[in-house]
Symmetry: C2
């Protein structure tokens, strides 16, 4: 340490856009990931864990500037021992790009179709904002090598099961389903020469929820003034071209059958459009047969998903309940998961198109939703704290903690400076300990221990009447050998 | 994808020194981490998850060259949106450095002592070798802010409990315990002016297991020829100076009491040496009282641990059973965990010494040990595969899979091209599926399904007699409504 002292002290801080997670923040996320993994496993998906680091070459997408490939990703160049420079490496920005690499690399050993799930952090080299971090969790399931829309239907059904498994009740979520091919069919009809920027159309339609039908119509045409007063250029469709797109977007009917009929009108003679509708119909039939009715999964043509790489069915899960935002206003919680079919990601490596479909769950948003609904305990419940009255008797105190643990009760001996007993109780308080155990020389001589109910104690200190205090004292004396059952009794009373 | 096609195809490969983990490799590690976390929680430790990325400044240690701080770590420099350069960032190389940063950053909000555990990957920018990867898991528990050796005793006890919880039986491991202060005392006596390079002495003693007493004596003195014929320079102690060090190293007696008595002779009048022995004695007393006798934890002066930062008690857990190495030779499995007291890591940030002690478990080595002992299933057991005989009846097949899942049975519908039925069975085989379900038009008309026991089928195909075949056919016909109980019966037979 001698050398370090001479330098200025380093700052104890996270890099910008990164944060730490403590106690319940870690265990609640873990519990949620466990529940999701259990559903994925039940559906036959197999775990895959790829490393955080990939070659920039394999990640592929973020290469606007080959000399400095770090737009959007954290990247660096390898150096060999001799100082020579090597491959560019990067932290993965999602779990789909590594899956494409794995499938291309191991396709001869993997089963086909390959159903895999993956969960873990991904990294984005983006400007952080409130609640937006540069490291966050994703939780994906994908089926690679299955061209059948049965694979898409299965993923939708599994998503519904997963949401319910983590505690989102039926009626509190809705999975909205569409097919990119139908939109392609509509665009084929209105723009047979491919003169229109289709990605721009996608991005415009994706704003339907925000700007409404009239807004989308303006943006598909000449443009519009946005709320801030700035003029947003439109895609440049004529009114005649925009009409069928709006018709498509708003074709959701009272039932799946009605929606499909509306869509058939919207695509006209387009072969790809009709194919898309047939696929949706098959998916809907399979889901209905499986009991996934319109209370859980609906066809909604306004869902297109922003990402360019989808080639077929797309879907999105939104939570339908309102929460109160940071300014106290009620608002819809919105999307927590989404996915769809992407048939070209593996092709980059192998030259051959490989059909694939998958879902990605935003675990952190889902946790926030459960928290907003009050379905998560806010904080960790601390251990029982065995206080230290006589520091020469540590072995005795450790024996008490060991007995409690043997009974499955989380327990520890106070390991700070025991001199000030008040500090020991403050510590227990900060740990949110439910119970403190006290045994001084006097108690030891009498063969007893004091058990202090810290939760009750805090409540009594605040507002209890004398009668309540007498009826249920916050501190009781019990025989030493009754320690475990008496602590258990107090803990059981709380749960 | 059009742009990408023009470029040469990217290589589908991991960066050098990184690897993917599939199926059981992921779930077995997860199961082990869960068991370890459960013990840590029971002892009152609280989860902490820090991000993978830290500032190089906070990591601190690896700064031989400030311009290019990537010796041993993966590091890169931040760039702002305007292209200006910013902080150097790096992937964490262990879980202790981030803990020191967190404690310094949040010390006013955290309880003192702060017991925390952390598990996750760490990264080393080192030359990979066989079985040595540049990303691997660590699993740590540390107590920060507790000067008492009761904290060290607790960590040792917890390590014993943890090893047993993950499946290492009592008698198959030994935790060896020592105290750096005793060695410091010995060196104080033989080298009162501090002329000797103490880190070099540490590294030499750390070779005791490999080179034995005579080897260490040579290396403490002038040096020796190693097995390859190269001459290794010694530390340069005289025989008179080396004697007490060797005496210290070999002072393990038949009992803890005897060892402590030998150590008292070895340190002579040194105050720090005596303090170290007193601490060891307290730890031993507390552990004995807790039932952690010499069958689990012993005092062994030959354990010093290589790392420079330890300041007090140090310990190491080794597995005592033999395994067969890749060349078929029996060998000791060796160390799987270690730790000790380090009182100066937080000081870098705050200027104040903060006592801390902790343990790190090598999860991957521990998994390898359990595998070597045959205590892990080698591969994932696949799902029940519902085969597809008639692709228009996908909804029916999905209903079967859904029924199986509702009963908690892992199940899926075959989603590849169903044309070649042989391929469906090959797929089930590759997935290690225990059972395939078959229902064609004929079965459907008769209201039955075929259930094929794939494990039994494989065994029969290999070596069964006709009698066995008749007694327990590998394929049975059951009524459609008996699907779930019959599959359950076959699965239960296997487990």
């Amino acid at each position: 340490m001698a050398k370090v002292k001479k330098q200025p002290r380093p700052k104890a801080a996270n890099p910008k856009g990164f944060r730490d997670y403590f106690g319940a923040e870690v265990t609640q996320r873990k519990a949620m990931l466990d529940k999701i993994a259990a559903v994925y496993e039940l559906f036959g998906f197999s775990a895959l864990e790829t490393p955080a680091v990939e070659t920039v070459e394999a990640l592929g997408k973020f290469l606007p500037d080959v000399e400095r490939p770090n737009a959007g990703v954290f990247a660096w160049q390898e150096e060999s021992e001799t100082g020579k420079v090597g491959d560019w490496l990067a932290l993965r920005y999602d779990l789909t790009a590594p899956l494409a690499r794995v499938y291309a690399q191991f396709r001869n050993e993997l089963p086909t179709p390959y159903r895999r799930y993956a969960m873990g952090p991904v990294w984005r080299n983006e400007k952080p904002g409130p609640g937006r971090f540069r490291q966050f969790y994703q939780c994906d399931a994908d089926t690679v090598g299955a061209p059948s829309v049965a694979a898409d239907a299965e993923i939708c059904a599994m998503l519904a099961e997963t949401l319910e498994a983590v505690g989102i009740r039926r009626g509190d979520y809705l999975i909205r389903l569409n097919n990119r091919k139908i939109l392609n069919g509509v665009l084929e009809a209105v723009d047979p020469d491919g003169a229109v920027d289709r990605d721009a159309v996608l991005r415009t339609i994706d704003k339907f929820d925000k700007v409404g039908q009239a807004g989308v119509r303006d943006l598909l045409g000449k443009g519009r003034l946005d709320a801030s007063g700035a003029y947003i250029d439109g895609v440049g469709l004529s009114a005649e071209q925009a009409d069928p797109v709006i018709g498509f977007l708003t074709s959701r009917g009272a039932s799946a059958g009605e929606t499909l009929a509306n869509l058939r009108l919207a695509v006209g003679e387009s072969a790809v459009g009709r194919e898309g509708i047939d696929e949706l119909e098959q998916i809907a039939t399979q889901l209905e047969a499986g009991g996934y009715g319109p209370d859980r999964i609906v066809i909604d043509p306004s869902v297109v998903r922003g990402l360019g790489y989808y080639t077929g069915p797309v879907f999105e899960a939104e939570l339908t309940f309102e929460i109160t935002d940071e300014k106290g206003r009620p608002r819809q919680f919105g999307s927590v998961a989404g996915g769809g079919r992407y048939d070209d990601l593996v092709k980059r490596f192998t030259g051959q198109s490989v059909p694939a479909t998958g879902v990605s769950i935003g675990v952190d948003r889902l946790l926030a939703a459960l928290q907003a609904k009050g379905r998560l305990a806010e904080q960790e419940i601390g251990p029982v704290v065995v206080t230290v009255m006589d520091r020469d008797r540590m072995a005795d105190y450790q024996a008490m903690a060991a007995e409690l643990r043997s009974a499955g009760i989380r327990a520890e001996v106070y390991l700070g400076n025991p001199k000030n007993f008040g500090n020991q109780l403050k510590y227990a308080d900060r740990r949110r300990s439910p119970v403190a155990v006290i045994e001084g020389a006097d108690e030891n001589a009498r063969g007893i221990v004091q058990i202090k109910d810290l939760v009750l104690g805090a409540r009594i200190a605040e507002n209890a009447s004398l009668e309540e205090w007498k009826a249920q004292p916050a501190q009781i004396e019990v025989a030493r050998e009754k320690l475990v059952p008496e602590v258990r009794r107090i803990l059981d009373r709380k749960s």
